[in-house]
Symmetry: C2
DNA sequence: GTGAAAGCGCTAACAT
DNA sequence: ATGTTAGCGCTTTCAC
């Protein structure tokens, strides 16, 4: 059932307007040339008469015609869309809310825009990270940036083994097949802990879910700083707190009522740190007098909390740029080595 | 030059792996059936033998084959991608950074995910909002959500007039052709101002760029609250501050040194409010003793600032849901009326 | 129940 | 300098 142009009925569920979408054939007809000429003109080919070309461009412009990118991509086998995947916790079905994650997304968006790529933002169940690969397998995106490793180092390795162009924001691990970009978590953990120890704190609690590689590395730093100071951290002070903020309160409450002494806290995100401060206050302890608290991330508002947060600064803007740069390398077929970006302490009021 | 399957060379610039992407023809060949059968099997058609169908599905799964969505969309004339446009200021080339915007993006992402849509996040020059329509004209997305009206009410109207399915986060204006969803800015401005007046504040500065519709409406509320209290606001206290945070400091400094008296501030975003507090402190004024400050947005961290921020709460989670719901209505070809969501004051320390 | 073939909107040989 | 035609990977009549 061949159709002449403009014959088609305006069916098509997802089409809102009653007007059929303009296509190249229409421009061609109106300009009195063939579609090939229109195609050439719009792509700036020199093979077409300058005036004709100009006329066609004008016409297209005035009709708000844009080349159908789906068709173009299909024909050209190209695609300029990058998938950015933000895993969510299946149980809590939590919203994207950590300001740090949100900032990173912003910085990736900027970096991709700079390089002329589109960004497809996608949330997937962190238990089924392989869903991310479907974005790639289906040709929807040419590569994927995943925010955070979560508990799924091995899933990520599998994706990489399958040649999915993949860059992950997170820590650099041994036996890692995928490219990761992240802050220097071990060093961050060490700096923060060393700062607390230098300030005379003796018993420092570590708050974070060490099942996450980034947190694990930070805890290694926490250990190392203790070792440097010829101290041994008390395992009772290593507290597994999920990233959900409300969890902090419970953990702190329990720690306080358990009678285990502590005078410092290293929290694995600023959000956690803030809730820790709240929880401590509710328990009648003052920050930083009774307990010093160090956060992690240096989110934009860390300088404006009460008290202002001493924290480990993560390079968010660079992060976006580096993640994108690494992905572009992979897309060029080159190897992209893992990158560990330097971090530094920002000393404010919560742990002077 | 007809090609038999698997003959094609692995050229294709944007392809990273050396392995050609799997396609339906490959599955068909491996399963010993035709592509038509594979297509039917994978789409769950009952027209195909149950065993065959199962075998094909298994095969596809085990090879990580996913239907090429570009081709499928082209053939089916469908598309499940929605564009979310975050305008940026051309001059300042500013990054997405306002926590409120970021939260809204998160909430839209969640809402779209819930409805099975993908989200294409796109930054465009706020002077050229029509660039947003290109997303639509090119078929890349089936509809667009724009965050903020900025100074471009008329550009938005033009887009809507061109039948671009469009929903805008922002204020409801007279003569508006597009669908907007936003907080009740007039009421928000009025509540905030009334709160300050009730607390005995006499000279309340208004900080915000009234060229933006949302800010304009808030200022109307500011006026109305004064009128209710049979007062007249001093025009010298209406200060045009762009949303860039650093601007706040200058404006406050100038206001202080100008000798114009004031004892209250309504800032048009929490970020602005925070910087206002800082600037006031630098000028030796105490918040809220000398000056009460009310923010706007109730961003997630407003409760943790120093001092904790009294502010107007915007319903972020609902916002995403409503924006998406409105867009889906438009896509069904129905009219989507503008929505104004209720807002409410959250009283904290900065303006008790 | 399955296959052959046409065509979604576009580009790029290959013709003139 | 322009037109004709084949085909990107898929779905769907239409035939068997």
């Amino acid at each position: 059932m061949p159709k002449t142009s403009l014959t088609k009925a305006p069916t098509l569920g997802s089409d809102s307007s009653d007007r059929r979408r303009l296509q190249m054939a229409d421009i061609a007809r109106l300009a009195g040339v063939s579609v090939a000429t229109v195609s050439r003109a719009l792509s700036g080919s020199t093979l077409v008469n300058a005036e004709t070309s100009e006329r066609i461009k004008q016409l297209a412009q005035s009709l708000n015609y844009s080349i159908n990118l789906g068709a173009q991509n299909l024909r050209l086998q190209k695609n300029l869309t990058v998938g950015v995947v933000v895993p969510y916790d299946a149980q809590s079905r939590q919203h994207i809310s950590d300001p740090f994650f949100l900032s990173i997304i912003g910085s990736i968006a900027d970096a991709l825009t700079d390089h002329g790529y589109d960004m497809l933002l996608s949330r997937v169940d962190s238990e089924r990270l392989d869903a991310a690969s479907q974005l790639f397998d289906s040709g929807k995106v040419i590569g994927v940036i995943i925010i955070g490793q979560w508990r799924h180092h091995d899933q990520l390795n599998q994706l990489a083994a399958r040649n999915v162009p993949l860059v992950v924001w997170g820590g650099e691990l041994p036996q890692q097949l995928y490219c990761s970009v992240g802050g220097d978590n071990r060093d961050g953990g060490e700096q923060a802990t060393a700062h607390l120890l230098r300030a005379g704190r003796k018993r420092i609690a570590f708050l974070g879910d060490a099942a996450l590689p980034e947190v694990w590395l930070r805890r290694e730093g926490y250990w190392r700083a203790h070792a440097q100071a010829t101290q041994t951290p008390d395992p009772q002070l290593e507290l597994a707190v999920p990233f959900e903020p409300d969890a902090a309160r419970q953990v702190i409450d329990r720690l306080c009522s358990s009678g285990v002494a502590f005078d410092g806290v290293l929290a694995c995100s600023d959000l956690l740190a803030i809730h820790t401060v709240q929880a401590l206050r509710a328990q009648g302890r003052t920050v930083p007098v009774d307990v010093s608290v160090v956060g992690y991330d240096d989110m934009p508002l860390a300088a404006f909390c009460e008290p202002t947060l001493t924290t480990v600064h993560q390079p968010v803007v660079e992060a976006g740029a580096e993640l994108v740069a690494a992905l572009l390398l992979l897309l060029k077929g080159e190897r992209a080595p893992a990158r560990t970006l330097p971090v530094h302490m920002v000393v404010r009021a919560s742990a002077p």
